[in-house]
Symmetry: C2
Subunit: 251 residues, 2 copies
C-alpha cells in the first residue's frame, strides 16, 4: 500500500474568494509522482481552535500532512503556534534560523516582527529553501510551508527528499467529443470491476468554446494494469460508436 | 451573526491534480456577497464511507453545506446514494424529474444510465437549472451540485433564492510594492485590535513578472467599520514610508 498525504490550506483569502488557490494542484501532482497520493484537502480559516483540531485529526489519519499559509510576520500568521500546540509543545527561537536571518537582514533590520518567523515549535526542523530566508519547518509527520506559491514550491523541493514515497501513480486518458457519459456507463463500470486496484474515472467537460465531451481516465500504482485498462477504454469508445482521442481535451 | 456555509468537493480528479478546481472561488465570492460566508472546504475522494462521514459532520457544524461532483450517470458517481445514507434514507426515482428527462431525451434515449440521474434521496427537492436536464438536489441543509463548473454555476443560480443569508461581507484592499510585511506588522495588529469584528489580513505577493509587495485587506459585515479600518491601513502604509495603492495588485 502506498503511503497517504493530506493538505491543510490555512487562510481566509481562499475562503473569501480573494485568491484563487494555486497550491493544491501542484502538491497533488508532485505527491502522485512520489507515490504518496493526496487523499484529502481541507481549507480552513486562521482561527486557533480550528487549526489545532484539524492538524491533530489529520496527522493521526494520514501518513504525512502538509500545511500552507500563515507563517509570515503579521498578527494573522498563527500557524506555527497552533502546530506547536497540536504537538503538545511551545515555540522557541530557533538559534540557527535566527543566525541565518540576522546574517541576511543585518542586525538593524532583523526586527521584532521578523524574529517571529524564527520562532519554531521545539523539536522542529527548518525547511531551508531558496525562495525565502524565513524557513518552513517539519515536526513529526507535518510539513509546514508558506502560502505564496513560489515560496511553497521552493519549500516543497527542499523537503521532498525526506518525504514518504511509494509506487508512483500513473494514469492514461482517452477522450471523445462524440459520446455522452450515459452511453459508456455500463462497459466502463465493467472495466472498473476487472481492475479493482485502479481508479477508473469518467469526467464530462464543457469548454468555453462550446466543445463538449467526456474524458475517461485509468489511474493507479500498477502501470501494467493502467496500460491494459486504458486499451479496454479505447476499445469501448470505439464499440459505442465514438472517436477515441488519446489524452485530455485541450482546454 | 451571519449564517455559515461549507463546501465539500467530491472528486478524485482534484486530488490527483488532473483538474484545477474552478468552483471554490466562485462559491466563496457568491456566498460572501450573500452574507453566508464559506467557513471550510473539504476535498475528498469518491469513497463511500468518506463521503458519508464528511457530510454527516459538516451538515451538523454549518448552516448550509454544498457539495460538488459525483452526480453523473457512471459507476464513480456515488454522491446521491451517500447523501441519502447520511440522511438515513434511500434513493427513489423522482417522478417529475424522470418525466422531464424522458421528455428531453425521448423514451428510447432515456437509458438505464440516465435513469440513475433521476434517482434522488427520498424527500429531496430537485435543483432545476438551465445547463442540464439532470438536476442537482437539496435535502435538509445540503445542496448537491454538479462538478462541471458551468453546470455547477447554473445550479447555484437556481438554488440561491432559497439560501441562508446575512449581512453581505465587504472588503477594501490597499497594496504597496515598497514595503515588507515585517515593516507594518505592529501597526496592522493595532488596527485588528481596534476592529475585532473585522478580519484584517496581510497577504504578501510575488508576481510572475518579479513584482512583489503586500496586500492589506479589511473585511467584514459592517461596512462602516471596513471603511474606517481601510483608512487606517492607508495611513499606516504612508507612515511606514510606503506608497499606498488602492485595490489588489494586478496579476
Amino acid at each position: 500500500m502506498n503511503p497517504t498525504s493530506a493538505l491543510i490550506v490555512i487562510g481566509n483569502e481562499i475562503l473569501s474568494g480573494r485568491t484563487q488557490d494555486a497550491n493544491i494542484r501542484f502538491l497533488a501532482q508532485r505527491l502522485g509522482e512520489l507515490g504518496a497520493p493526496l487523499r484529502e484537502v481541507r481549507i480552513i480559516p486562521d482561527i486557533r481552535e480550528t487549526i489545532i483540531t484539524t492538524v491533530t485529526e489529520m496527522k493521526a489519519r494520514f501518513g504525512q500532512v502538509f500545511t500552507t499559509g500563515g507563517i509570515g510576520p503579521t498578527h494573522d500568521d498563527i500557524t506555527a503556534a497552533c502546530i506547536a500546540e497540536a504537538f503538545g509543545t511551545t515555540l522557541e527561537l530557533h538559534q540557527d534560523t535566527a543566525a541565518r536571518m540576522e546574517a541576511h537582514y543585518g542586525v538593524d533590520q532583523f526586527s521584532e516582527a521578523r524574529h517571529r518567523m524564527a520562532m519554531l515549535p521545539k523539536g522542529a526542523t527548518p525547511i531551508i529553501n531558496k525562495a525565502s530566508v524565513a524557513p518552513g519547518f517539519t515536526i513529526g509527520n507535518v510539513h509546514v510551508m508558506a502560502g505564496v506559491p513560489s515560496i511553497m514550491q521552493s519549500m516543497y523541493e527542499a523537503v521532498e527528499p525526506d518525504l514518504l514515497r511509494g509506487s508512483p501513480i500513473t494514469s492514461r486518458t482517452w477522450h471523445t467529443t462524440t459520446l455522452f457519459e450515459s452511453m459508456i456507463a455500463a462497459p466502463l463500470e465493467a472495466v472498473q470491476n476487472r481492475f479493482p486496484d485502479l481508479d477508473i474515472g469518467s469526467y464530462p467537460f464543457m469548454r468555453a468554446d462550446g466543445r463538449r465531451g467526456v474524458a475517461l481516465v485509468a489511474k493507479g500504482a500498477n502501470a501494467d494494469h493502467v496500460a491494459a485498462a486504458s486499451e479496454e477504454i479505447r476499445s469501448l469508445i470505439v464499440t459505442a460508436g465514438g472517436d477515441p482521442i488519446e489524452g485530455e481535451s485541450p482546454v
